[in-house]
């Protein structure tokens, strides 16, 4: 599997796919996409890169264990839900900023929530696959 072509391609493919995944995440509120899909695309990007260049490469690229993304994501989503409570509104009520932007639409706490989902999905998928891959290498 670790052919030269894939290795070379993955070097360019990975950043592109990651960028694409963020784009998908951001546009989710207006067009098909969102945290789940974005997260999955990002994990595929990293898995392909890891396939081509070995797990250690990807570890040094990430600089932290992907498992760390899981609690980060869950807390991010939870915080996004808690934020409105400081503003005196019920849990999970959305707060909006003024003005609309391209791709994102009107940014609000929903975006933070979706980002949390994104992180959880990436974290989980990578944890599962990398754990197995590491196990296999032994």
């Amino acid at each position: 599997m670790t052919t030269l072509i894939l290795r070379t391609a993955s070097v360019y493919l990975m950043p592109l796919l990651l960028l694409f995944s963020v784009f998908i995440l951001l546009r989710g509120h207006y067009l098909p996409g969102g945290g789940f899909v974005g997260g999955l695309i990002a994990s595929i990007a990293l898995v392909v890169y890891g396939y081509a260049n070995g797990i250690n490469q990807i570890k040094s690229f990430l600089r932290f264990h992907p498992g760390a993304l899981i609690p980060t994501g869950v807390s991010l989503s939870l915080i996004s839900g808690l934020l409105p409570m400081f503003a005196g509104k019920p849990f999970m009520t959305n707060l909006w900023l003024d003005g609309t932007y391209p791709i994102i639409g009107q940014p609000g706490t929903a975006l933070i929530f979706d980002t949390g989902v994104y992180f959880v999905v990436v974290g989980t998928a990578l944890t599962i696959i990398f754990s197995i891959a590491e196990d296999n290498e032994k």
Partner: protein, 768 residues
């Protein structure tokens, strides 16, 4: 009245829970409770005799028509007086009989619980509360029979009694519910007035049958009688109280209570006469062949209960009157005899009638008490038993077509019972002192005063019969039957037929007693007929049920996961098919059957092929690849049918799944080469049937249509309320955000689970 019952239960609770701390010190005092209740009920007697009745209702579950309503009338009064009166003597007696027993306080707890429930039973004016108290007596009887819980036979006897009486009780509940349905009320006093309503009801036969089931099991009628002799394992005070004087009469009480309602209906009278007759003939015949004193008494009790049931079957006011008197007579003399037997047991250390002789010299008072009870049982003038026998004879004589036949049988049974009574009450005291049995000289007063008290009561009621007749029995008859009787109690009624019959019985009984020698031989002969015994049938039934279910458990729970799945699915298939067979509404039109494009058709064909490949290929890699194909096809279907979000998710997940699978495949076992064609076909049939059912259900739902209100709300408000235009995403992150939050938590847990599974293994490796 509620106070009386609650008092019993409260004390029962105190004794069972905190009895240890009393250490049997106040046992004599406990008998004050039944005594005071006896006096209380006796105090109500005056107003009862003048035709009054007491009714008290405490609302409980009024919405279901279930109230704690209690009603005291003449019939109940006879029972309450027996319960509290005999209860008093038994409480007193047990204090000595069980002196020093480590669980004496628990014993009193159970006994009080029984007394409370028995009082509740006879006082209840509500079918459901009556049932509850009925089962409570069964339960307390269970505890009391098994009181010597280290004796395996006692435990078994307790269980038998509970199964028989409790099971009958459940049937009775069925009857009660049906009665409630027919009458529209559970109030007994209202129901007994609805005779015409019930005789027109289609449930009548069923109700009567259910009542029989309850009453016959409780009152030990043939063929349910065998639990009663077994129950003699209980300490003698228990046998006295529960299994002769009170609890076993609950069935008789029930039949008597409803006799005005069912008298003359379908098979009520015939069945009662039939079962009663069989029972008393059987019981009387068995009784004299027993060698255990308590066994003799147990069978005479069965016989007496049979006579009572027969009297209800005859149903004339004379018969009912005889019944009321006989209940009282029997309670007095049988309790007396039981207490005497208990004392003999204590003195001699045995109850074997062939061994005990010559007690008259050592225990004179006990002898007198025994003799009093025996002559009452024999029906000798001037005891109350004499009146009882006369009333029975005269009512049987006048019972119509079968009168003469019944009379012959009754007289025959009476002769046997008389002989049995003398065997218990006279035989142990006569003859030379037996050298084999060491006698214990000292008998505590309570153990001979109490039977003497009962004997004297019987004698007193016999001599001064007018007071109980006018005050107790006639009002009871009137409250129950509404009629009056011509033949009342008389000490001397001239030398009529009845006179000769009565004395003839006595003479025959005495002759039989003189020439009859009890021996162990008879019980050996009895064992030959073991297989015809209903107990044998029950035991075999229990064994077979056990065997069947152990077999079923073995077959169904064989420990193979696949097998469990297959069984569950098969059951599900049967269940759903049955439902469809009965409830499937046909007639939908397949109007949108075949409108597909080429792309869709191609996708579906690829999908089917991939699935077939995944199922039947022998290569694991091919299987995983086809799995990826199936996922991609579904992804395409999502694209065709306007679900871009789903298509993207499905695509990425599919990729990840395949990657994961390929990574794992190295470390998963190869396919097995073994092929079991039979099992394969079986599974194929199961799975295809299930798939077919899913298809059918799906189609049915599709044709029925679904509600779109929720979806429409989201579609209309996604932008207005949540400022998003991708409705699916808005639902996920906004409308149902909490769900998603929980979902990602679940996902996180599964990730952590995988992580720890592998780390766990690494830890194990490192240790090695």
């Amino acid at each position: 009245m509620l106070t009386a019952i609650v008092l019993c239960f409260a004390f029962a609770l105190v004794f069972t829970l905190f009895g240890k701390h009393l250490r049997g010190r106040i046992t004599y005092l406990t008998s004050l409770l039944p005594l005071s209740l006896f006096i209380y009920f006796l105090g109500l007697q005056n107003s009862l005799s003048s035709g009054g009745e007491f009714l008290s209702i405490y609302p409980w579950i009024s919405s279901l028509g279930i109230d704690l309503s209690f009603r005291l009338d003449g019939l109940s009064q006879i029972f309450t007086l027996i319960i509290t009166g005999i209860g008093f003597t038994v409480f007193l007696y047990a204090a000595e009989y069980l002196r020093g027993h480590p669980f004496l306080d628990r014993f009193y707890g159970y006994l009080l619980m029984f007394m409370g429930s028995m009082l509740g039973l006879v006082l209840s004016d509500n079918l459901i509360t009556l049932f509850i108290f009925w089962e409570l007596t069964s339960i307390s009887s269970f505890f009391l029979i098994g009181f010597n819980h280290r004796d395996q036979k006692a435990r078994k006897a307790a269980l038998t009694a509970l199964v028989i009486t409790g099971g009958g009780g459940l049937f009775m509940l069925l009857g009660f519910v049906l009665m409630g349905m027919v009458a529209g009320t559970y109030s007994i006093s209202e129901i007994v007035l609805m005779k015409s309503l019930f005789s027109d009801s289609i449930y009548l036969g069923l109700i009567v049958l259910a009542l029989f089931a309850g009453a016959f099991t409780k009152s030990a009628q043939f063929p349910f009688h065998f639990w009663l002799p077994d129950a003699m394992r209980a300490p003698t005070p228990i046998s006295t109280y529960l299994h002769s004087a009170t609890m076993v009469k609950a069935g008789v009480y029930l039949l008597a209570r409803f006799s005005p309602l069912f008298d003359g209906e379908i098979y009520w009278n015939e069945a009662l006469i039939l079962f009663g007759t069989i029972t008393f003939i059987y019981g009387a015949a068995q009784s004299i062949f027993k060698t255990d004193l308590k066994a003799i008494l147990a069978y005479t009790t069965i016989a007496a209960l049979g006579i009572m049931v027969m009297l209800i079957g005859i149903g004339t006011s004379a018969a009912i009157y005889a019944l009321l008197v006989f209940i009282c007579v029997h309670a007095l003399y049988k309790a007396g005899l039981f207490l005497v037997v208990g004392s003999i047991d204590k003195i001699c250390g045995t109850r074997d009638i062939t061994k005990i002789r010559g007690l008259r010299n050592t225990s004179v008072v006990l002898f007198v008490a025994a003799l009093l009870a025996a002559i009452s049982s024999a029906g000798l003038i001037p005891t109350i038993g004499y009146h009882g026998k006369h009333l029975i004879y005269s009512s049987v004589m006048e019972s119509g077509a079968w009168g003469i036949g019944l009379l012959v049988l009754t007289i025959a049974a009476s002769i046997l019972l008389l002989c049995a009574g003398l065997l218990v009450g006279l035989k142990p005291f006569t003859g030379p002192v037996s050298p084999e049995v060491p006698l214990q000289k000292h008998t505590p007063p309570a153990m001979w005063i109490t039977p003497l008290l009962l004997g004297l009561t019987g004698l007193g009621m016999g001599i001064f019969y007018r007071a109980p007749q006018e005050l107790l029995f006639l009002p009871a008859l009137e409250s129950l039957h509404g009629g009056i009787v011509s033949k009342q109690m008389h000490l001397w009624s001239g030398t009529d037929t009845l006179f000769w019959l009565s004395w003839g019985t006595v003479l025959a009984g005495i002759i039989l007693f003189v020439f009859f020698r009890p021996s162990h031989e008879y019980s050996k002969r009895d064992k030959k007929f073991k297989k015809f015994h209903s107990r044998y049938l029950l035991e075999q039934g229990v064994i077979n049920v056990k065997r069947t279910f152990s077999f079923l458990t073995h077959v169904l729970q064989n420990g193979y996961l696949r097998y469990y799945t297959a069984v569950i699915l098969t059951f599900l298939i049967v269940l759903i098919s049955l439902r469809m067979y009965t409830g499937f509404e046909n007639g939908y039109e397949f109007e949108f059957a075949l409108d597909f494009t080429f792309n869709e058709l191609a996708t579906i064909i690829v999908m089917v092929v991939s699935i077939l490949l995944a199922v039947f290929t022998t290569s694991r890699v091919v299987a995983v690849a086809s799995l990826g194909g199936v996922g991609l096809c579904i992804c395409l279907l999502f694209v065709y049918f306007s679900a871009p979000d789903l298509a993207m998710t499905q695509f990425t997940i599919d990729t990840l799944t395949v990657v994961l699978f390929v990574l794992l495949l190295k470390k998963l076992p190869l396919y097995l080469s073994k092929v079991d064609t039979g099992v394969n076909w079986r599974d194929l049939i199961i799975s295809c049937t299930f798939g077919l059912l899913v298809t059918i259900i799906t189609l049915e739902i599709l044709f029925t249509g679904s509600v779109k209100e929720i979806s429409n709300f989201y579609a209309e408000n996604a932008y207005l309320l949540a400022k998003g235009k991708n409705v699916v995403n808005v639902i996920l992150v906004d409308f149902r955000g909490v769900d998603t939050l929980i979902e990602i938590t679940v996902l996180a847990v599964s990730g952590l689970g995988v992580f720890s599974l592998i780390r766990l293994k690494m830890g194990i490796d490192r240790e090695r």
